[in-house]
C-alpha cells in the first residue's frame, strides 16, 4: 500500500441553518422554537463545504491543506477522521474505509482540533488533563508518564502543569490541545490549524517537533490544515490549495510556485494602504493581481504585492498611485512568488481577507 490516505469524490453539504435565539422567552418549552426552526430548516438551501474532492496522501508524508477560512479544510479533516459522514464519495485511511470501518480508522488516527475548549476538564490541572487523555486512549501508565513529561517540555508547559486550564492564557490552552495530540502515536495524524493563537516562538518549536520528530523520526503521515502560507511552505512535502470546498491545486511548494514563475512580483512597503489604493493599482494595465497586508492598523502601514508580466513598466504608475492616495513608499523590492501568490493566481483573492 503506497498511500496512507485516499479520498474518492468526497462531497459534504450542510443546510444553511438559522441560529436558535438563546433568549426565546419560552423557558422550559424552548423546543417549541426548535420545532418551528426545524420547518424552516427543511426548506433551507445546501452549502457545499467539500466539493467532489479527490486526494492521495503518501505514507510518511507531511501534507498541507492550505486555504482561507471557510475553504472546507476542517470539514474535510472531520470526514477523514470519522466525525462527519460525507454525503457522497468516501475515503480510506491506511486502507480502512471511513464509512465501512470507522472503528479501525479511529485506531489509526489522531486529531488535534483548533479551539481552546475541546474536551478539557476545567477542574483538573494541565497534567491531570493529559493523564485523563492518556487513560482514555488506553496508554499504559509508565508510557503515559514518560510521554506526558516529554510533551509538556515540547509545548513549554512544564512549569504550568499544576495550573487548571482557567488559570492559564488562551495560547497556553492551545498548547495543551497540541500536547494532548502529541501524547498518542498513530500512523496518521490530523492537525487542524495547530498553531493558531500561539506566539511565534512556541509556534516555531511546535513546527520543528512536527517536522523532525513526528514526521522525520516516527514516520507518521501528517495532514495539517493552515491558512498560514509560511507554515505550509516550511513544513509540508506537498500542499493542496483549497477554495470553496474544491482542491484547486496540489503539489510540492516548488511545483505550485512554478505555476506562476513567469510572473514577476513586486513588493512595496508603504503606509496608508486602503481599498481605494488597491482598486486603483488593480486597474493599471499589465497588473495581474494585487494583495495587501497591513501590519500597523493605526497608520495602515504594510506590504502591497503586485503581480505583473512587466514590473519595469508598471512600477512608476504604482508609485504614483500610492503617492496620490497619501501613501509613503518605504521600500520596493522584487519578490519571489509565495504560496499566497499561487492562491491569488488561482482564486483571484488573498488567503487572509
Amino acid at each position: 500500500m503506497d498511500y496512507a490516505i485516499e479520498v474518492f469524490n468526497l462531497t459534504k453539504k450542510f443546510k444553511k441553518v438559522k441560529k436558535i435565539p438563546t433568549e426565546a422567552g419560552f423557558g422550559d418549552a424552548h423546543w417549541i422554537i426548535a420545532l418551528g426552526l426545524k420547518l424552516k430548516f427543511l426548506k433551507a438551501q445546501d452549502i457545499v463545504a467539500v466539493d467532489d474532492v479527490n486526494l492521495k496522501v503518501r505514507k510518511r508524508e507531511l501534507f498541507g491543506l492550505l486555504g482561507p477560512n471557510g475553504a472546507g479544510k476542517t470539514t474535510l479533516i472531520k470526514c477523514l477522521s470519522t466525525l462527519l459522514i460525507p454525503d457522497e464519495g468516501t475515503a480510506t485511511i491506511n486502507g480502512y474505509d471511513v464509512l465501512k470501518e470507522p472503528d479501525k480508522v479511529k485506531r489509526c488516527i489522531n486529531l488535534v482540533g483548533s479551539g481552546h475548549w475541546v474536551g478539557f476538564d476545567w477542574g483538573l490541572t494541565v497534567k491531570e488533563n493529559l493523564e485523563f487523555f492518556a487513560n482514555l486512549y488506553g496508554l499504559k501508565p509508565s508510557l503515559a508518564k514518560e510521554r506526558i513529561d516529554e510533551v509538556l517540555e515540547i509545548v513549554g508547559l512544564k512549569d504550568r502543569q499544576k495550573e487548571v486550564p482557567g488559570r492559564i492564557s488562551s495560547g497556553m490552552r492551545q498548547r495543551m490541545i497540541i500536547a494532548k495530540g502529541f501524547l498518542i502515536r498513530t500512523p496518521v495524524f490530523f492537525m487542524d490549524e495547530p498553531t493558531v493563537g500561539l506566539d511565534p516562538v512556541s509556534a516555531k518549536d511546535i513546527r520543528v517537533y512536527i517536522k523532525e520528530k513526528l514526521s522525520g523520526e516516527l514516520g507518521e503521515t501528517i495532514v495539517l490544515t493552515t491558512h498560514y502560507m509560511h507554515e505550509a511552505e516550511q513544513l509540508c512535502d506537498r500542499v493542496a490549495i483549497m477554495d470553496k470546498g474544491k482542491i484547486v491545486a496540489c503539489g510540492t511548494p516548488l511545483e505550485l510556485k512554478g505555476m506562476i514563475e513567469t510572473e514577476e512580483v513586486v513588493e512595496i512597503e508603504t503606509i496608508n494602504i486602503g481599498t481605494r489604493l488597491i482598486d486603483e493599482i488593480s486597474k493599471i494595465d499589465l497588473v495581474q493581481n494585487v494583495a495587501s497586508h497591513i501590519d500597523d492598523p493605526v497608520t495602515s502601514a504594510g506590504t502591497i504585492r503586485v503581480h505583473t508580466d512587466d514590473a519595469e513598466s508598471i512600477l512608476p504608475m504604482v508609485l504614483q498611485s500610492i503617492e496620490r492616495n497619501g501613501g509613503k513608499v518605504l521600500h520596493v523590492s522584487a519578490s519571489q512568488p509565495t504560496l499566497e501568490d499561487v492562491f491569488m493566481k488561482l482564486t483571484g483573492k488573498g488567503l487572509v481577507e
Binding site: H30, W31, A34, T82, I85, R107, N110, L111, G123, L136
Partner: protein
C-alpha cells in the same frame, strides 16, 4: 513505526470502565464543588418532606378510603412517590441531560475519536444522576421515617419494591432514549425537550406520584395507565407499605405490564437514539463548536 502495531488498542472493558468512572467522578466533583448549592439540594429534600407531611396530615383522612391497599398512611404514600419518582425521573431525564453535556461541553468529539466512544461519557454522567437519585431516595426515606415517623418498612417486601423500581427504570430508559434522540432529530438542544416535558407533566398528574389514581376521573386514569411509572409506583408502594409479595395478583399484574412496556420502549428508544447519533454525524453537530 509498524502499521500493524497500533499504539491505540481496541478499548477493553477496563478502559471503558475507567472512562465511565472518570466521568462519574468528574460529575461528583462538579456537584460538591459549589458547597452552597450542594447544601441547598439536600435541604430542598427536607423541606419537600415537611411540606408533604403536613399536607398529608391535613388531607389524610379524606384520602384514607383510597389508600387501603397502601396501608392507609398518606404521608408515607406521598414520600415514597416522590422518592421513587427521583429514580424513574433519572431514567427519563439523564440520557437527554447527558447528551446536552456532551454537546455543549464539547466532549462528544473527543470521545467519538477515542477508542471508548461517546457511550462511556454518557454512562458516567447517567451513573451520576442515579447516584444523586439514590442519595435523594435514602434521604427521603430515612428523614421521613426518623423525623415524621412515617410507616415505611414495617413488614415490607423490599425485594419486590426493588424489582418494581428496576423494571420501571428499564421501561422508562426506553422513553429516556427517545427523549435524548430529540436533541438532534428535533433540534431540541436547549436543555429541554418535548418528550420529557410531556411525560414529566403527565407523571406528576396521572401516574399516582402525589395521589392515588382512584381520585382521578376515568379519562385521566386511562392516560395514567399508559405510563410505566404508574405500575412501578403502585407495585413498589404495595410492597413497602402493606407488605404485598410477588404472588399478590395486583403486584404480578403491575410487574408483567412493566416487562411488556420494556419490550416496547427499549427497542424503540435504541432505534431513535442510533438515528439521532447518525444524524449528528451527518450534520456535523456532535459538538457545539464544530
Amino acid at each position: 513505526m509498524s502499521e500493524q502495531d497500533f499504539e491505540v488498542k481496541k478499548a477493553d472493558w477496563r478502559t471503558v470502565l475507567w472512562a465511565v468512572w472518570a466521568n462519574f467522578r468528574k460529575a461528583i466533583m462538579g456537584w460538591t464543588f459549589f458547597l452552597p448549592n450542594f447544601i441547598m439540594d439536600l435541604a430542598g429534600i427536607i423541606v419537600n418532606i415537611g411540606i408533604f407531611y403536613f399536607l398529608a396530615t391535613f388531607t389524610g383522612s379524606a384520602m384514607a378510603s383510597y389508600l387501603a391497599r397502601f396501608g392507609g398512611d398518606y404521608a408515607a404514600y406521598i414520600v415514597l412517590g416522590i422518592a421513587f419518582n427521583a429514580y424513574l425521573g433519572a431514567s427519563l431525564n439523564s440520557f437527554y441531560n447527558s447528551y446536552c453535556m456532551g454537546y455543549w461541553g464539547c466532549a462528544f468529539e473527543l470521545y467519538a475519536t477515542s477508542p471508548v466512544g461517546i457511550k462511556a461519557f454518557m454512562a458516567g454522567s447517567i451513573l451520576f444522576d442515579y447516584f444523586v437519585s439514590t442519595i435523594s431516595v435514602l434521604f427521603y426515606i430515612l428523614f421521613g421515617v426518623s423525623a415524621f415517623g412515617l410507616g415505611i418498612g414495617r413488614g415490607a417486601d423490599l425485594g419486590v419494591a426493588v424489582l418494581a423500581i428496576l423494571l420501571g427504570m428499564v421501561a422508562v430508559i426506553g422513553i429516556g432514549l427517545i427523549a435524548a434522540s430529540t436533541f438532534t432529530l428535533l433540534n431540541a438542544k436547549q436543555w429541554s425537550n418535548p418528550v420529557t416535558w410531556i411525560v414529566n407533566f403527565l407523571v406528576g398528574l396521572v401516574s399516582g406520584v402525589y395521589f392515588p389514581l382512584e381520585v382521578l376521573p376515568e379519562w385521566a386514569r386511562a392516560i395514567g395507565y399508559m405510563l410505566p411509572q404508574t405500575y412501578a409506583y403502585d407495585a413498589a408502594r404495595m410492597a413497602l407499605l402493606s407488605g404485598a409479595s410477588i404472588t399478590n395478583p395486583l403486584v404480578t399484574s403491575d410487574l408483567s405490564r412493566l416487562v411488556m412496556f420494556s419490550f416496547i420502549t427499549v427497542p424503540i428508544g435504541i432505534f431513535f437514539f442510533k438515528r439521532s447519533l447518525r444524524k449528528a454525524e451527518k450534520d456535523g453537530t456532535l459538538s457545539r463548536w464544530s
